[in-house]
């Protein structure tokens, strides 16, 4: 039987959840025995090259590109996991929810106390740039998500145990220490 295939991505996240995946330490050697990685920042494969069994999503959706990537993950992955607070509830980027986009952009590019070089008061508006959404959306409000692993970042043991449980089909144990929201 061929190995299960895993893909990962970071949407509106900080890559902390990916750091936490690496935080499984030497078990990463076991992981590459157990699974094969496809599209992921870990191996730098940019596009899906085959059907994927488990897609791991870090970060929520703050712009049009996030939505597109998330939808392509849903299309190409049998199982999708929301990994971390940002994927689950928007996380820190969602602190902007409730603040109008115009105000956010003004603060970032025109009126903010650290803005000095933008003398012409230009707001980023290139066709190449993804459009910001009106607010930051949890991933499960955009596509169906099958499993949720909370934490900021999720504990490495939680990620490891969840992946092993998914691959082996054994039930996932959730000890008190691994389910945390911070």
């Amino acid at each position: 039987m061929s190995k299960p295939v895993i893909a990962t991505t970071s949407l509106a996240g900080c890559f902390g959840c990916h750091m936490s995946i690496l935080d499984i330490d030497e078990r990463i050697l076991q992981l590459i025995e157990l699974v094969e990685f496809n599209k992921s920042p870990i191996d730098d494969i940019k596009t899906f090259t085959k059907p994927v069994d488990i897609g791991i999503i870090e970060g929520g959706c703050c712009n049009s590109e996030n939505v597109e990537v998330l939808r392509s993950f849903r299309k190409n992955c049998k199982i999708l996991i929301s990994l971390g607070e940002c994927a689950i509830m928007g996380g820190l980027p969602a602190l902007r929810n409730g603040i109008p986009i115009e105000e956010c952009l003004h603060e970032a590019y025109i009126g903010g106390p650290t803005v000095q070089l933008n003398k012409d008061h230009i707001l980023p508006n290139d066709d190449e740039l993804p459009m910001l959404l009106d607010r930051v959306y949890p991933c499960h409000e955009i596509v169906k998500i099958d499993y949720f692993l909370p934490g900021c970042a999720p504990r490495a043991d939680l990620i490891w145990d969840a992946l092993v449980a998914l691959i082996t089909g054994d039930p996932l144990k959730l000890p008190y220490e691994v389910v945390k929201f911070d």
Partner: protein, 231 residues
């Protein structure tokens, strides 16, 4: 003559003094029933419903219902656990609870109940309401994003003349707990400490001490809420 009466919680034989509220009687018998709006020494009002138990097929708040002789109480059963979990989830989605950036994280009772019921994701959509933060007091910050309107601060935080520093403002979905501007400025260090301690969430935060306890040393990092009660 003794006032002790017998009753059962989840088939376990218990004893308590007549008139004791179920939640207190359970605690005396080593059984934890979760609470949020209720706290020792304060008259219960049964508003958060997290302590809901079932007696004779009816749902009752155990913080406001006294035990009776021969009473049979259901508490730690699957459907009630699920009901309590749904209340926690509703509280999470109806406010703006950003645990990763909250100073109360690790010491927060709402978060601890999320851990107890292993809330991986709320089953309800996030509301992301627009709420204000009042940082005018020199001692504390009152953050409406995190307030669950339990009224614990209103009932327990009073000055020397017995005046409450906090009060309800507006009604219905506009209801909020606000700090009296004048009394907020006169607030003592001790009262600010107590206000932060009595707030079950991170709505009352003392200034200049944020994140002073390392992750791993906080109240609910290793021990679940109520684990000190459970025998």
């Amino acid at each position: 003559m003794s006032n002790l009466i017998k009753f059962k919680i989840d088939s376990k034989e218990c004893m308590a003094e007549k008139g004791t509220f179920i939640v207190d009687a359970a605690r005396e018998n080593g059984i934890y029933i979760p609470t949020l709006c209720n706290m020792p020494g304060v008259k219960p009002k049964g508003s958060c419903r997290i302590c809901t138990v079932r007696i004779n097929g009816r749902l009752m708040t155990s913080c406001t219902t006294p035990v009776a002789d021969g009473m049979e109480i259901e508490s730690n059963v699957a459907d009630l656990q699920n009901l309590r979990k749904s209340i926690v989830e509703l509280m999470f989605v109806s406010g703006n609870h950003f645990c990763p950036s909250c100073e109360k994280s690790g010491n927060c009772e709402l978060q601890a109940l999320g851990y107890l019921y292993q809330m991986l994701v709320p089953r309800f959509p996030y509301d992301f309401p627009i709420r204000k933060i009042d940082a005018t007091s020199p001692k504390i910050i009152k953050d409406q994003n995190r307030c669950i309107q339990c009224k614990r601060c209103i009932k327990t935080i009073k000055d020397e003349q017995g005046r409450s520093l906090f009060a309800f403002r507006n009604r219905g979905h506009r209801l909020e707990v606000v700090l009296d501007q004048e009394l907020g400025h006169l607030m003592t260090e001790e009262l600010a400490d107590l206000a932060m301690k009595n707030c079950p969430v991170g709505s009352i935060i003392k200034k200049e001490i944020g994140f002073n306890t390392a992750i791993g040393n906080r109240k609910f990092d290793h021990h679940a809420i109520g684990s000190e009660i459970t025998l």
